[in-house]
Amino acid sequence: MDNQGNRLYLNFGNNNDRLAATDRTYPTTPSTFPQPVYQGQPGAAQPSSQQGYQQGQGYASAGYFQQPAGQYAGTQYADYSSAGQGYGQPPSTAAGANNDPNTGLARQFSNQNLGGGGPAAAARASPYAGGWGQAQGQRPRTAGGQGQQPGYGAGYVNTPPLPNQGAEPGYFAAAPERNPDKYGPTANNNQKKCSQLASDFFKDSVKRARERNQRQSEMEQKLAETTDPRRRESIWSTGGRREGSYLRFLRTKDKPENYTTIKIIGKGAFGEVKLVQKKTDGKVYAMKSLIKTEMFKKDQLAHVRAERDILAESDSPWVVKLYTTFQDANFLYMLMEFLPGGDLMTMLIKYEIFSEDITRFYIAEIVLAIEAVHKLGFIHRDIKPDNILLDRGGHVKLTDFGLSTGFHKLHDNNYYQQLLQGKSNKPRDNRNSIAIDQINLTVSNRSQINDWRRSRRLMAYSTVGTPDYIAPEIFTGHGYSFDCDWWSLGTIMFECLVGWPPFCAEDSHDTYRKIVNWRQSLYFPDDIQLGAEAEDLIRSLICNSENRLGRGGAHELKAHPFFRGVEFESLRRIRAPFEPRLTSNIDTTYFPIDEIDQTDNATLLKAAQARNGQQQQQEESPEMSLPFIGYTFKRFDNNFR
């Protein structure tokens, strides 16, 4: 066992100078983590496709192992997503997806707002789209396609590769033409699940093995640094216990009953966020529970999945940490770190405006946070004060916490197209309605602003949400890129200094129109004095995408004179302007819980079902229902905070 463990470590490529030795152990390759097999055309798996095999013989040099060992971590996921596409779809589709200016490498928080439809949109929808489509694509009816068979044998088998001599006929049972349609819908549905679960299994296993080996080499480094036997024993046993606890955690099915609800700290159309405490160890978390049927009805599944993915993947101090996800028949649960400082929206409601110094701090931190998200390959697309949380020290973390916010129709291009055609979501004959967008807001409109401010939280919890911070190019459906998040930053900065967002209006339709016509509607009130540099920064963010600062990367923003003197590298270590004053680790002072209905819908729903005897033992476990496969996630360091 020890040998194997050691070999595993050697193979891993985190110690490059030892790779040569590995090579000797493995006649095949240095990097040995299982990877998905690329397949142009699965249909080629016909005995007749001999050319395919011949081509395949050179695979060891022809990129069978796609990555140099050292670069493994960076590219693994990309591989999987592209494998998903490559799997079932004809190459032309995949190429189209890659050429799409809107995607690039970006995996987005949400996948709905992909106007146009058509194959490119479908391919772009998500890395998982390929996987879903796979079932169909994988069923070519034609035999004998010329696929690139990976060509077993070439580098692997002890016998040297020989020229292809051709199959000796008749040895093997003939392969019939594949015909998935001979089975019913249940089988075909199970086919999708099975395929998805199998690829998820290997993907997760590889990721875990990679991380485990990383930890092991870190441990060995620590062991090498000391000769004190007691210290060494303690390093060893701590390491072993941590790994063991994690394995136990993986085996254990989590359920909401394992947590005590302390308070409900957020509520929305799709579920709620609760402050909870784990019964076994008393640790505190924020638990987001989402109603499956609602998610399904409102077509939010891809989004939920994308969010789970980014949160699961990221290990950044700028992104709220997701510890685990689990599910039961009715809900999806996300167990996240609890950030006691509340959010920027609550702060803005409380203070109305910030000084320029305080604004500088938050905006600088948000720049770093957005940069971190972009580095993960994601476009947030929904940066707004509700999604900017403050941790114990008062520093910023991004999330999609405000339930409704990330999960509303905001990402549905059709919704905006409808709005564009004048179908407002609100009756416009409201007697009190003053067409706010026709008069520019000034301090004299304070009462209206206060109305707006009061309705703000309600808005945040509604299904529709606020479009206030969204860049115009997202509405118009002509494509957008990473820089749309910098627009949002500009609007937040405006709000911090002015007291309301620049395109604030009475209903979404008006806001929307103002955003699209930003050249006319962006207006700095005369009675509020902004520094020239602050105004310049705002104007270089709230502008058309071509000229927007940050288009070339976050460094463009960091270099702006407004941030002169800001040390970005150490920003997170300095003291924040507002540090939450907390009395305990379950203090919810900074959450507007008075405004939140404390009814625990999940519990009510469960109780109602129990009364109706609906709690029938399901034959199928909830993880197995197709739309939610692969949702469950377990982070290693969950146990060891």
């Binding site: 493995y26 299982p34 199959a167 254990t252």
Partner: protein, 339 residues
């Protein structure tokens, strides 16, 4: 050469233990702790196999210099008495995977992790994997019929030479009963999940987690006494290893049935054969590495194991590789025109 010998030796070893013609009785059947109230899991393989034939050959290992008596790949393959033409899953073109690289990286026990903990982890993971495939054949369509039913599979079979019976405890004795495969599998699923969910057997309490004895420390911690067992340090019960062996053996039998009876119908038609291959090869690598499966137990799937050793799926340092006959694998590749 040495690889060849290890493969052959394994076969002989298997044949030797197999000599009585009986498959090992499930450990569970011997253990009162485990006896479920009604039907006991258990089975005997009705094996009328090939291995006896091979065993008649002169004992080999003593003298490596007997080239004439070393059976060729073809001879050994013939001794498996497989149906002709060979099943589709032995065609190397259909023995492929959805992943590439060395599966051992996924199944090797991390150094610091206590062995019982790792076995428990693997048992759960492979159980989850396997049942994704069983679901496909056992789920009922609207008309109430499943792909695997008492007409298609009246017995829990793994090819013409093997079928497994259920050991049913009646009063004080066990009787072997033949069940349709889908019933056998569903009983087995219930039995296995009953074990995996039993926290006395598979503890989940984080406070009892232990670690592998450190190689840096000599002395008391390392000496294994007679009263030691796999998983003892981490709170696993004495019978834990034998329960896990049964679980792995049972899972192997399910895989064997899926290959022999359902590889084409439905997995090939549903484009799931690569997924099945990946999960099964990973399963075999893990189970053999952890000594949860003995070489003789692999018999119904031996030829596929030989093929995977020869085509590189099983790395040379793996236990599964040492259980394989490379000549047979090479022959299969040759037959497919891939050698």
């Amino acid at each position: 050469m040495s690889n060849l010998f290890s493969g052959i030796n394994a076969r002989f070893r298997g044949a030797g233990k197999h000599g009585g013609g009986k498959s090992p009785v499930s450990p569970a059947a011997d253990d009162n702790h485990l006896t479920p109230p009604n039907k006991e899991l258990g089975q005997r393989s009705k094996s009328s196999s090939n291995l006896q034939q091979l065993a008649k050959l002169p004992p080999l290992p003593a003298s490596p210099a007997l080239p004439k008596t070393i059976p060729t790949g073809e001879e050994v393959l013939n001794s498996y008495r497989l149906p002709q033409p060979l099943p589709l899953w032995l065609n190397p073109a259909y023995a492929k995977h959805i992943v590439k690289g060395n599966f051992m990286t996924l199944s090797s026990k991390p150094k610091t992790v206590e062995l019982g903990e790792w076995i428990a982890h693997q048992a759960v993971e492979h159980y989850r994997n396997l049942w994704n495939f069983v679901n496909v054949v056992s789920a009922k369509e609207a008309d109430g019929k499943s792909i695997c039913n008492s007409t298609t599979c009246p017995r829990m079979s793994a090819g013409p030479n093997h079928s497994y019976t259920w050991l049913n405890k009646k009063d004080d004795r066990y009787e072997r009963i033949e069940l349709p495969a889908y019933e056998y599998m569903s009983l087995m699923r219930r039995w296995i999940s009953g074990k995996l969910d039993d926290t006395n057997i598979f503890p989940t309490d984080p406070s009892t987690v232990s670690f592998a004895p450190s190689p840096h420390v000599s002395g008391a911690a390392l000496t294994s006494s007679a009263d030691d067992w796999i998983g003892k340090r981490s709170g696993f019960p004495k019978e834990f290893a034998s329960i896990c062996r049964t679980i792995f053996l049972q899972m192997f039998r399910v895989y064997a049935h899926l290959y022999w009876a359902h590889f084409v119908e439905p997995f090939y038609h549903l484009n799931l054969e690569k997924q099945l291959n990946s999960c099964f090869s990973h399963f075999v690598l893990t189970a053999t590495a952890l000594d949860m499966l003995k070489p003789q137990e692999l018999e119904p799937m031996q030829a596929l194991i030989d093929l995977w050793a020869a085509n590189g799926t099983f790395p040379p340092e793996s236990t599964a590789y040492s259980y394989a006959n490379l000549q047979v694998g090479a022959r299969l590749l040759q037959m497919a025109g891939m050698a």
